[in-house]
Structure formats: C-alpha cells, structure tokens
Symmetry: C2
Subunit: 341 residues, 2 copies
Amino acid sequence: MTDMNRQVLLTLRPSGIAQAENFTIREAAVPAAGPGELLVRNHYLSVEPAMRGWIADTGNYTKPIELGSVMRSLASGVVIESRHPDYREGDCVSGWFGWQDYACITPDQIVQRTTASEMRASLGILGTNGVTAYLALTLIGQPRAGETVLVSTAAGAVGSAAGQIARILGCRTIGIAGGPDKVSRCIGEFGYDAAIDYRAQDVSAALAGHAPDGIDIYFDNVAGPISDAVLPHLALRARVIVCGTASIDRWTPWPTGPRVERHLLVKRARMEGFVIFDHMDRYQDAVGQLRTWISEGRLLWREDILDGIEACPDALAGLYRGENDGKRLIRLVGDDAGGNQ
Amino acid sequence: MTDMNRQVLLTLRPSGIAQAENFTIREAAVPAAGPGELLVRNHYLSVEPAMRGWIADTGNYTKPIELGSVMRSLASGVVIESRHPDYREGDCVSGWFGWQDYACITPDQIVQRTTASEMRASLGILGTNGVTAYLALTLIGQPRAGETVLVSTAAGAVGSAAGQIARILGCRTIGIAGGPDKVSRCIGEFGYDAAIDYRAQDVSAALAGHAPDGIDIYFDNVAGPISDAVLPHLALRARVIVCGTASIDRWTPWPTGPRVERHLLVKRARMEGFVIFDHMDRYQDAVGQLRTWISEGRLLWREDILDGIEACPDALAGLYRGENDGKRLIRLVGDDAGGNQ
C-alpha cells in the first residue's frame, strides 16, 4: 500500500477512442472520509468498451467526463475508513470509485456489496457485464426455447455471457468473433452451436449456412459492417438488441450504412437500445440468477487482468484493438489468477 | 355495366415504382361463379403505396405479383352471383378482388362485409388505412396522454388517421407533409398541433422548435431523409413505428443513410416494423372503434377518386408523385363524392 493516491485523469478529449496520451497519472494525498463518507482502497478497476461513450463530448446516456477529473469507472475494493453507519472497515464493495488507488465516496456510489472472493466477478460476470447480458437478452430479446440467437463480440465479457444464457434458456446460439482463438473459445468454452470468424469468413454466407431459417434474436455489441451483414438474415418478428456499437470508431462525422427500415418492415422486426443503468431495480435479482448458474457450472467467464495503475491509460485503446481475452480489469492489490476457466 | 371484364395486368416488372407502361388493360369474359364461389362486381378499387412492394421481385412480406396476372388490390363491390351459403346476391363486400371489373372469388378473399354507404370507407378509414393507423399506433407506439407524436405523410390516408387518433388519445401531434396545402390541412382538418412542410422547411430545425423535449412516438411512413432528420430528436424511450418507406424509390442497389444504432442506444429507443396482415384478428374491433370516432365527428378523412379502370395504370405512380389528396380510389360504379370533408 502506498501513502499517496495515484489517480488517472482524463486530460485530453479524444475525437475517437481514447489513447494513452489522453490520460495523465497524478499523485495526490490520500483523502480522509468526511461525515457520512467512506474511504475505499480499490483492488480492481474496470475497463469497459462503454467508456468510449462516457469520454466523448457528444450526446450520450451519461454526462461526459469532465477534463481534468478522475476517469469514471466501476471498481471494487475494501472500506478502510467508514463514517457511515451502514458500512464498516473491511467491507467489500463495488461501485463508481474511478481509476484511482483510493476513493472517498458516499454510499450512493456503491452498486453492490461483494466479498473478497467475488471482488473481480462483481465487475464482470456478477456485475455490469453479466447483468447487461441477462437483462438485455430477457427484457428486449424475450427468448423462447428453440429460437436462434446470434451474438456479436461473442467471446467478450457481455457477449460470452449472452451466448451462454441464451443456451441455458434453450436457444440455438451462433457467435461472431474475430480470430481463430476467440472462435474456438466460442465453441469450446461458451457452448455456441456455431461460431463465425468475421475476419476470415464472409459473415452473410456463413449465416446463410448456420441459420437458414433466419436469426430470431441478434444481440449486437458492435454495429457497423458485421451488423449490416446480419440484418438481411433476420427471421420474421426478430429482435435486435442494440447493446453497443464497438465497431464504430467515431460518430463525428456521423457514419452511414445500409438502411434498416425495409428489413424491419418486411420482417416486422424490432430494434431496441439497452443501457443497464435503466434497470438497477432488477440488478440484484439478476446477480442472484447468474450466481446460481455459475454454482451449477453452467456459466463460465474469462478475465484479462493487467497489473498496476500504470496500465490504465492504454487499457481502453487495447480493448478496441481487440487484444483482451475476456473481461479486462486492472489489478491494484493481490496476485491471484482471474476467471473460472 | 359492361358484359366484358376489363382487367389490369402487371405485364412489365419495374425496377422502381411501377409506371403506366408496366400495366396492360385486357378485356376478358365475365367469369361465372363455380361451386363455393362468388362473383363480385367491383365498385371501387384501392391504390396503395404498399403496392410498390407487392410488385417488386425482392423480398417482401407477401409473394411478388406474378407477371401477366391481375394486379393485386383491395376492392369493394356487390355480390352479383353466389354459390356459397354465407353470401347472397346484393351483399356488399370488401377484400382482395384485384384491379378488374368483376372478380370470381372464394370467401377467404373477403376482408370484411360492408354496406353500400361504407363501400369506399371500407378501403380506407374503415379498412386497411385506418386499421393500420390505429393498430400500429397503439400496439407499437403505446401512446400515453401528454406524449408528443410525430407523423410523416401526415395528410395521407394512414398518416392523417394516425395523427387524429394520437390526438384523440391525448397526445400532442406534429405532422410532416409536402407543400402548403397539405400542411394547412394538417392543422385545419386533422388537428395537428404543428405541421412542417418538408419541401420548404429544415425539418430538424423545425422539430427543435416544435418538440424541444423530443419525439416520443414517430409514426413513419417514409424513411429516407425525413426520417434521418427525425432520429436525432427522439426522446428517451421513444418508439419508431416503421409503417412504410414511401420516400425510397428503390432498394436495388440498397440505399444507405445515417446509422441508427447510436440513436437507439443513447435514447433506449425502439424501432419496429408493422404490417397489418399480422393483425387480422384485431381488424373488426379496430373498425368498430374507428366507426365510433367517426360518428362522434372526431375522425375525418379525405378521398381522392379517379374515375374508370383506365385510370389504374398511372394511379400508383401518381401517388408517388404526391398528386393525391387523401386516400386514392378508382371508381368503377357510381358518382357520389368522397370523404367526409
């Protein structure tokens, strides 16, 4: 433990995806908890594709992160000082603590209580990623057994959970991922019935082969050319879950693509955006369901752990380079391995 | 009444919108009803924007009309010969009778029984147009009082009904139409709170003025540049009803436009296609509701009547030229005026 609080600040707003040079690491004094506050020692910091949107100064579902402030992030850690009656020193918590060693917080920044053994999972499969996969799939996708579910970024933190949950719910699952390693992981670990390597295969031709009767649910994390290849393969009354737009580097100028209206009309299909923050009332129930499936050995996940806060500035750009292998986390404390693979 | 059956055949498949030269008028003998069949004398033939899709040989929600066959169409008329126990001579019926003087049909081609006084309305406000407006708005749009509803082709057969129904349901309504006549009709006849002339105004700027808090429901009949201007103005959890794509001349090659995914994600909005033929189980209830509103003087409509079957070949192209003033019908029998304006 250091006596200083290292913090990763957003200091230069990118026009596209934030690179290392958009951030600056600063050392500050460790703060003290004021009345009603807690001081948390962060153990793990989360790295999410969605951060691209939080950083952008264009319209989004949250306020843009201000220049010069600590990078907004989910994190998990241990309460080391409490001036709030509901929390004690030693409590493990997960929430909006930012990319820094120590966070002085109020309880409304906590998303969930966790445990020492679930501190990493609380940021991934038992946190935003798993809950997003479960709620987006069930609330928007409304899967029925026997339907065909297609997932993009199929080996990623959200995608791999979505694919496995769809399978648990009785659906046929097809994954789209980049590269032979991720594709073989889709089949071997995450149980997809079929997987397509978008870098090596013609996605449309592969879909025609794997889903001759069409796609009932498309869990989309990417938008862009992959989705453009998917839309003509929608089945009647298909549901397209718009969960992310990872393949689009920038929205200024606004990118174009094939029009979707005719597909939606001809197939009476539905396309709908999902943001987990709208569904916090269902969060803990979802975590409970996910934990059950994990305990039954039916839900696997991978973690991609980088050590040390110095890894933060380049970590988001690395996600967009596709170099991560599962949920990306920055470890500040501890040295155990990640995932249940 | 003629002794011959004049029929309008589709004889040349267009690459875009069918023009007069794509059809041929043929005279055939008036058929006789076989066992279980009815012979109907058509009084009115319908002309619908959707015919563009029925004619195209690309994927659609119905089978393409075969070259050399009678143009598929809704029509209304009188049974002049019945060899089916459920129908008698003199019954008024509305259904899939085609662009021809006489149709020899089976009862499954009948959409609804009608009356002499509702024979035209059964093809418009009390038929596919009104029922589409009502069901698409309520099933997909799910309007709540106080919400802002935007309608494209706001003075058209479907649009004007959608706008009036939204208003009856307590919504604020904004219409988009082309030209000063249609715009003034939107306000003066159809009760829109505001109307935008897309030919003369910047749609985006006008929307910013009329709907500063965003559009809750967009009832879209056009797609294309008008919709592209609308999407950035969606409110949180907006619903976009994809009911038609009238502004798109052709889908080969497939047209491009600004990507919709980011709008849907940021606004957690939903976009969904609607085709009336999926909802025939609700058809008669919808007609009943529409008839009630008409009888209360709350629902107005216009008809644009062309006389004689010779008007058929150019009638669809004329719709796409925007020359009609309300629901376009071809009158074969009778000479009374249309609409309730």
